[in-house]
Amino acid sequence: MSLPLDTKILVVDDFESMRRIVKQVLHDIGFKDISLADDGATALPLLKKGDFGFLITDWNMPQMEGIDLVKAVRADPRLKGMPILMVTAEAKREQIIQAAQAGVNDYIVKPFTPDTLKAKIEKIFKGVAGK
């Protein structure tokens, strides 16, 4: 499928290396408008004042965890429809269920490959387009 490559994306992770890895892979897929945030607490204001169309977030972050960021986005009338991909080292079954219940569109366990990230993004946007 053809991805909406003009989508503005926010990548949230407390580790710089992971932010840059995800950004590079997104860039290779063809996305050009990619912003970065190092915590849920810094990401939420950006989301509220920006026109982002896709959120990729880590779970474990020091100030505001990714799961709380997801809940905050889903609770915001303007942001609640935003597709969200969680990319995290947390792989326990109950955590994946918790993330799904909070409203993530999909979930990737670190470490991951560029192909996995691309496939998940395609799946998410296919689902969004089908609604």
Partner: protein
């Protein structure tokens, strides 16, 4: 807490042997009140030995955390705290910082190298497309550059180790800190219960027994997190 002469197990054995002899004497004299009093003392010795073991464990853990060192090869990378001692938590934090810096350097190099390789690939593709006949040289260049780009992407993805190892180290640091705090709280509580009990006239095996020690310890454990120096003082006040 070992000074070469002190053997806590031997100390307990000697105390029990002394009490056993007293118990035998009481029973021989049909002094039941005295006998039961000695049995209470023997029970107190058992509880004291458990308490003492916990104290040694807390002291050992604390000493290990504070004085952890690496070999000379890695020492110059490691920051020391105000007391001049590189504790295990600060050293683990340094490992996170060093691996982050290493990953940043690698990613910086990749930021400049990947576009160069892609530009080279595009150039070779243009040459191959413009060539009137198939060129083995251009084809091999094309395949080689494709492999280089693939390898560079593998290097990029491998930098994710820094995130995963960093998270693991942060968790270990948290566990160490909580374990130490919980042990101190347990010791303080046990010491408090003992001091309140009329049936356990037991002194700490190594206690200096300075007045106010327990109150000071309780006050300190109310804090969310103790500094290393506070932990040292608290353990000392409890006799460890």
């Amino acid at each position: 807490m070992s000074n070469g002469n002190f053997d806590p197990e031997q100390m307990i054995i000697e105390r029990l042997q002394g009490k056993a002899a007293e118990l035998a004497n009481c029973l021989g004299a049909r002094d039941m009140s005295g006998a039961f009093s000695i049995i209470e003392h023997i029970n107190a010795v058992r509880e004291e030995s458990i308490f003492h073991g916990l104290g040694l464990l807390a002291r050992g853990l604390h000493t290990a955390i504070v004085t952890f060192e690496v070999d000379d090869h890695g020492k110059h990378y490691l920051a020391h705290d105000e007391s001049g001692t590189a504790g295990v938590t600060s050293q683990l934090d340094n490992v996170v910082r060093m691996s982050e810096e290493s990953a940043r350097k690698t990613l910086n190099i990749l930021d400049t190298t990947l576009p160069m390789v892609r530009e080279l690939r595009a150039g070779v593709d243009r040459e191959a497309a413009a060539a009137s006949v198939s060129s083995g040289f251009l084809e091999s260049q094309k395949a080689g550059l494709q492999q280089v780009e693939h390898n560079l992407m593998d290097i990029l993805m491998a930098q994710g180790f820094q995130d995963l190892s960093g998270q693991a180290i942060r968790k270990v640091n948290g566990i160490l800190g909580n374990l130490q705090k919980d042990l101190i709280a347990l010791l303080t509580y046990a010491n408090h219960v003992k001091s309140m009990s009329q049936t356990l006239p037991v002194q700490l095996a190594l206690a200096d027994a300075e007045s106010g020690g327990v109150e000071e310890a309780e006050e300190q454990t109310k804090e969310a997190a103790l500094s290393q120096g506070s932990v040292d003082d608290l353990l000392a006040s409890l006799g460890f």
